[in-house]
């Protein structure tokens, strides 16, 4: 009896850890809690099938808490081996603090263009510290059934856009635009960053802002606020208290006609809406104008410089940089468009529609993301607030521009 017991004790204490030891555990820190099941069911199994000795855990948290939480974890040394990277200034800050490792020599990095890598590269362009995963495109998703019922065409110009909204309003069966201002970020992300590039001419305006040649008080930066203010009558009753999930539900339940969107909505909308959906890019001012779209490098993945299993983590990153991952990811999460140079075949029609805009329109990124998003007050949060104010009608477009410029002036001195 004692001998058996001893044997059991020996097996469980000495042998068992040895058996576990053969397997390396990797943890991915992420803010994409919406994608948890897709990682668990599709992406991670595909990796583990090839690398049976590595076990990967996807550990997402609430998006708004991600940056501070992951920073705290990195400082305390409890963060996972793989860190999902926000684009531009936030991840750059982590790299400069030595929390993210340089990935220049990672095989597979050559699969990405410089533009794709720009979001996770130092200002001098020398070091890249995250593997680019995906970008998101802004635009409008619409309910095809509603458009047929009311008999309107997809708008190409701003006048047409407002004519369509007006028709839906007179018809009365649909809320013309599904958006609320309660959570604030919708107003900026789906509103200002969505329609704005047509006004400030995409990269041209964004770079001029960074260079200090343009100011947020210039007409091309103020006008988008004025257009946003014109959305107000077409939003649902009580939009001031409408949250982001409210807007999503209003649209997928078929109660709203147009949803100012980011392409990341495609997968959840597919799962919930039982009507046909289409998409159109932000309308231009006059027919024939060059169109600009926000095609924002949104998500990458980096290596915790103080991680415990750098070898296994590098293996995973190599796989993320491969064409195989690009295809898997782009199809598992339609709307997150691969940044890999290898062309990826996507099955989702709506996702294809979004990507097709790249052919005619000039892409740009969100204006508050790079360089001007580094200081206090944070320009991105400021733009959330004033965009919501402008739509609520508590602030004029001019005041909104002046306030954000004042905040920027308080810390940002453009290089002369």
């Amino acid at each position: 009896m004692t001998r058996i017991l001893k044997g059991v004790l020996f097996a469980t204490t000495v042998l068992a850890p040895g058996m576990v030891f053969a397997q390396t555990n990797l943890t991915i820190e992420s803010w994409r809690n919406d994608d948890l099941s897709i990682w668990q069911e599709k992406i991670i199994p595909a990796f583990e099938a090839k690398n049976p000795d590595i076990k990967v855990t996807f550990a997402p948290m609430a998006p708004t808490e991600y940056n501070s939480a992951v920073n705290a974890k990195l400082e305390a040394g409890t963060a996972g081996d793989l860190i999902t990277c926000r684009p531009f200034d936030l991840s750059l800050g982590m790299f400069q603090k030595g929390q993210l490792a340089a990935l220049n020599d990672l095989p597979g990095m050559s699969n990405f263009s410089d533009t794709a890598k720009s979001a996770w590269t130092t200002d001098d362009g020398k070091t890249t510290f995250c593997v680019p995963m995906a970008s998101v495109i802004h635009g409008f998703i619409y309910n095809k059934k509603a458009f047929e019922e009311v008999g309107v065409e997809v708008p190409k110009t701003e006048d047409e856009f407002f004519a369509v909204l007006e028709k839906f309003k007179t018809d009365g069966n649909y809320i013309p635009l599904a958006m609320g201002t309660k959570d604030q970020w919708e107003a900026a992300t789906m509103g200002y960053y969505n329609i704005g590039p047509n006004y400030w001419k995409g990269e041209e305006g964004r770079k001029a802002l960074i260079a200090g040649e343009q100011k947020l008080t210039d007409p091309q930066w103020v006008e988008p606020y004025a257009t946003l203010a014109k959305w107000k009558p077409y939003l649902g009753d009580g939009f001031e208290a409408q949250t982001y999930p409210d807007s999503q539900n209003l649209f997928t339940l078929g109660r709203a006609a147009i949803y100012p969107a980011g392409s990341w909505e495609i997968a959840p909308f597919r799962a919930q809406a039982d009507f046909e959906m289409g998409a159109f890019p932000p309308p231009v001012k006059n027919a024939g104008d060059t169109c600009y779209i926000s095609d924002h490098n949104d998500i990458g993945i980096g290596l915790n410089a103080k991680g415990k299993n750098p070898e296994a983590a590098k293996k995973f990153l190599e796989w993320v940089a491969s064409a195989e991952f690009a295809e898997l990811y782009a199809n598992a999460l339609p709307g997150f468009f691969s940044l890999n140079s290898t062309a990826v075949k996507m099955d989702d029609a709506l996702a294809q529609e979004f990507v097709s805009w790249r052919e005619n329109c000039k892409p740009t990124i969100r204006p508050s993301a790079a360089i001007v998003g580094r200081g206090q007050p944070n320009l991105d949060l400021e733009m959330w607030r004033v965009s919501a104010n402008v739509i609520n009608g508590t602030q004029t477009p001019e005041e909104a521009g002046a306030e954000t410029q004042k905040g920027l002036d308080s810390w940002y001195k453009p290089a002369k």
């Binding site: 501070s68 609320g180 309660k182 007050p377």
Partner: protein
């Protein structure tokens, strides 16, 4: 008394023991309280005097406080949060506590039927998690799915409904009233207990003198429950200036719309832990926490040393 002991030669002087058992019994509570309350408090106050200087945490004296009160952006946020917090507190004092006292007075009427049921029903929200309370009220008041618009429609008041939580002018009042709804049970219970403590003889004597009904409440009961009202005011004060959870669940960490429901707790949270693209700043967060501590300390001291000493207590 020790004099009598030692002067009596018949009894051998009793050696005074150090009463170890007192220390032993106090130790667990003292150690736990020190570890989880006193040390963090001291550490927070200490951290508020430090800040990052060239990547190193160094002593900066009261510089953080100077920045908090003079930096145009930070001080604007701070004064906004403080004034919202004061309004939050005033609404509680004007609505929650009078209603609590009135409810307690009604419950203590001996002829009231189902008193036990009312008491529990009113007290139950206090026991609910703030997450549930916040979520329920957000849903009730939602202009899209909520029952408030349809209920008001039934009684012909649809015109009076507006998305209260989304409007800068009404959001703070709405959130305060939700908090009042949740916590009104506490003043009610405390006052109810105080009212039950009033001896019947006093009330009977009052009745013999012809003081009944309202005047009995104003002239006899109210003076007797004043100490309890004082305690409740202090509890409300401390609770309100530490408040965070309900605002966070209902309005989010930004205290929107346009900062109209931003109170010290949410400001502290955003500053200390960061929010979205704004990174956390521990030193500044600790500074705000220290200011909150001082505000509460000042309020409680005012009560303890000025008001409570002047309050008359009655012994039965």
């Amino acid at each position: 008394m020790s004099d009598t002991d030692s002067t009596d030669p018949a009894i051998a002087p009793v050696r005074r023991h150090i009463r170890w058992h007192v220390l032993v019994f106090l130790a667990p509570a003292f150690l736990v309280y020190t570890a989880v309350m006193i040390l963090p408090l001291i550490e927070t106050l200490r951290l508020s005097l430090f800040n990052m200087v060239e990547g190193q945490l160094s002593f900066v004296g009261f510089n953080n406080f100077r920045v908090l009160f003079t930096d145009p952006r930070l001080s604007a946020d701070f004064w906004n949060a403080l004034s919202n917090n004061v309004i939050f507190f005033i609404i509680h004092m004007l609505v929650q506590n009078p209603i609590g006292i009135a409810l307690a007075a009604m419950l203590s009427v001996p002829s009231l039927r189902f008193a036990g049921f009312y008491r529990s029903a009113i007290f139950v929200p206090t026991l609910l998690s703030f997450v549930i309370v916040g979520f329920i009220w957000k849903l009730i008041l939602s202009p899209i799915w909520g029952i408030a618009p349809s209920l008001m429609d039934w009684v012909g008041l649809k015109w009076a409904f507006s998305p209260w939580l989304g409007k800068p002018e009404s959001a703070l009042i709405t959130v305060s009233l939700i908090s009042v709804w949740q916590y009104v049970g506490i003043p009610m219970m405390l006052i109810y207990a105080a009212l039950l403590n009033i001896p019947d003889e006093v009330l009977e004597a009052a009745e013999c003198d012809g003081i009944t009904g309202w005047s009995q409440f104003w002239k006899i009961k109210l003076p007797l429950i004043l100490p309890s009202i004082g305690i409740i005011s202090v509890l409300t004060f401390v609770g309100n200036f530490n408040a965070f959870d309900l605002i966070y669940t209902v309005q989010g960490a930004l205290g929107g719309p346009n900062g109209s429901t931003d109170i010290l707790g949410t400001l502290l949270y955003r500053t200390f832990f960061g929010f979205q693209n704004q990174l956390g700043d521990r030193s500044m967060g600790a500074t705000i926490a220290a200011v909150m501590f001082l505000i509460i300390l000042a309020g409680v001291s005012l009560y303890l040393f000025v008001i409570q000493r002047r309050m008359r207590r009655y012994q039965f």
